[in-house]
């Protein structure tokens, strides 16, 4: 097997290829290959809104952009997607999708409940714009339709990877508050529909009965060296 050596000149490192981006209409030259967040910082922005975990999990950096010569409104997470030449972009500081107050303990898990708390789901016209707008690639409309059908388990499953960035809600002609609805559905599923984990309940009982109190006390008293030794010799369950 031959290995092709890529030589990078000093010039290329010191003078990376630059791309032009437009942030809220204003032009900036930024190095190619940066994420949108890093490009913004390069351009001099101090990120205080529209930024969170920077690992693609928190959903705080919903970004809308267009590319030159295209009508399509594209979506991205600023921490995950790299800049492209000619990008017209804005990172949304916040999406107003207020949550309805409810007490999970006193809810009745059926389709009527979701409709009562978030009546706008009845307005879904099945345009599927939400699905096209999801940076996580979720079947957003299918999840809303599953709720309308009464299949909350399916909706909970379809939305497991929702990061609540809110882009679907901003694009929805029916003004549905997706992220909060999905949150509610997963809570209902977790509390009322998924099988109860017996081992967890048993373990909690054991903890409450003080089975591990003595051992914990011992650990509290142990020296750092002892703890290190215990940690190194711990038994780990084999991964499947």
């Amino acid at each position: 097997m031959s290995v092709a050596l890529v030589t990078v000149s000093r010039r290329e490192i010191l003078q990376p290829k630059m791309v032009k981006i437009y942030v809220m209409g204003r032009e900036y030259l930024v190095p190619e290959g940066l994420t949108i967040h890093k490009a913004l910082e390069y351009a001099g922005f101090r990120l205080i809104r529209g930024v969170g975990c920077r690992g693609g999990f928190c959903g705080a950096c919903a970004t809308l952009y267009r590319k030159p010569g295209e009508y399509k409104l594209r979506i991205a997470l600023a921490c995950q997607n790299v800049v492209e030449d000619g990008m017209y972009l804005v990172v949304l500081p916040y999406t107003p999708i207020p949550r309805v107050k409810y007490k999970l303990e006193s809810l009745k898990p059926d389709v009527g409940l979701v409709l009562k708390l978030y009546p706008e789901i009845a307005r879904c016209v099945a345009c599927n714009t939400c699905t096209k707008a999801c940076p996580q690639g979720l079947q957003v409309m299918d999840a809303i339709q599953a709720i309308k059908r009464g299949d909350l388990a399916k909706a909970a499953d379809l939305t497991f990877d929702c990061i609540a960035c809110g882009i679907c809600s901003m694009r929805c002609p029916a003004e549905i508050r997706h992220a909060n609805i999905f949150h509610l559905v997963r809570r209902i599923y977790g509390k009322y529909m998924s099988p109860k984990p017996r081992h967890l309940e048993d373990r909690i009982k054991e903890i409450e009965q003080g089975k591990y109190r003595e051992e914990l006390e011992k650990l509290k008293q142990a020296s750092v060296d002892e703890l290190k030794k215990l940690y190194a010799s711990r038994v780990i369950e084999p991964e499947e």
Binding site: D110, V111, A126, N128, T131, D142, Q145, A146, G150, D151
Partner: protein, 268 residues
């Protein structure tokens, strides 16, 4: 017996408020040799057929349902799509009709719905009443008991008979349900209020209208000696029943799904 296959679109109201209607209906259909396949992961039908001619967006829900049916039709080898709820029937059948009459609308929608396969207008939307009408001889053969002490006023509601292009019977004086009941030797009265409005969705905005409209239907049925009003629509049933409750125990009348009566006649 040769089995006929049909796709089945239940819709939200049947699944939430009319499970008994669905259960009895599917039992009867199975008895007359109709194999029913519920659409997987069905979408909302759209609930209302939008009358704005330039607002195609409102027809997407119905079209998506028809495309879903088209995909699953290949799997099950049938292009028939059965509905129980008259609202679902009305919306799906009208969307289907509109697309057939205006193929340019289908093109416009297909451009927007670029993630779906193109609809070829090959699905036939059916309502339960049509299916029962076409199998009336088989139904007759199934009768095991005479349904006694029952005088039925057949009540059709509005959306299976209007507008004309989707109606399967005379909109002013429909007789499909009358004929089905008579074939099963169930006593049926002449009921001129059979297509009067029950108040429909005014139950959400102004119940007084529902009580007024449904009240007239109930009283006319009672005056004519009926002790049962046979219905095919969950919303008609709801409106008639809540009106009946509001009247106290003044009227001795029961609101029953047609297929419940059929199941009484044809046994378990």
């Amino acid at each position: 017996m040769i089995n006929v296959k049909m796709l089945y679109y239940p819709g939200c109201t049947v699944k939430r408020n009319a499970l008994e209607y669905e259960k009895k209906t599917l039992e009867i259909l199975s008895k007359i040799g109709i194999e029913v396949y519920e659409l997987d992961n069905w979408y909302c039908c759209g609930a209302f057929y939008s009358l704005a001619k330039d607002d195609l967006m409102k027809h997407i829900s119905g079209l998506r349902t028809l495309i879903k049916a088209q995909v699953q039709a290949r799997k099950h080898g049938t292009n028939k799509l059965l509905t129980l709820c008259p609202m679902c029937y009305n919306v799906l059948k009208r969307v289907n009709h509109m697309l057939r009459e205006n193929p340019e609308n289908l093109d416009t929608l297909a451009l927007f719905m670029d993630e779906e396969e193109k609809y070829t207008i090959g699905i036939e939307v059916l309502h339960l009443l049509e299916v029962l009408r076409d199998n009336i001889d088989k139904l007759k053969r199934l009768v095991v008991t005479e349904v006694k002490d029952v005088v039925v006023a057949p009540y059709y509601g509005c959306t299976v008979l209007r507008p004309r292009e989707i109606a399967f019977d005379n909109a002013e004086n429909p007789e499909v349900m009358d004929n089905i009941l008579r074939a099963l030797k169930i006593e049926v009265i002449e009921f001129p209020f059979k297509t009067e409005c029950c108040g429909a969705y005014q139950s959400v905005f102004n119940r007084k209208i529902v009580f007024e409209k449904s009240g007239e239907i109930l009283e006319e049925a009672a005056v004519r000696g009926a002790n049962i009003i046979a219905v095919i629509c969950p919303l008609c049933k709801y409106n008639l029943e809540t009106t009946l409750l509001s009247l106290g125990k003044k009227l001795r009348i029961e609101i029953v799904y047609l297929t419940d009566l059929l199941s009484r006649a044809t046994g378990p």
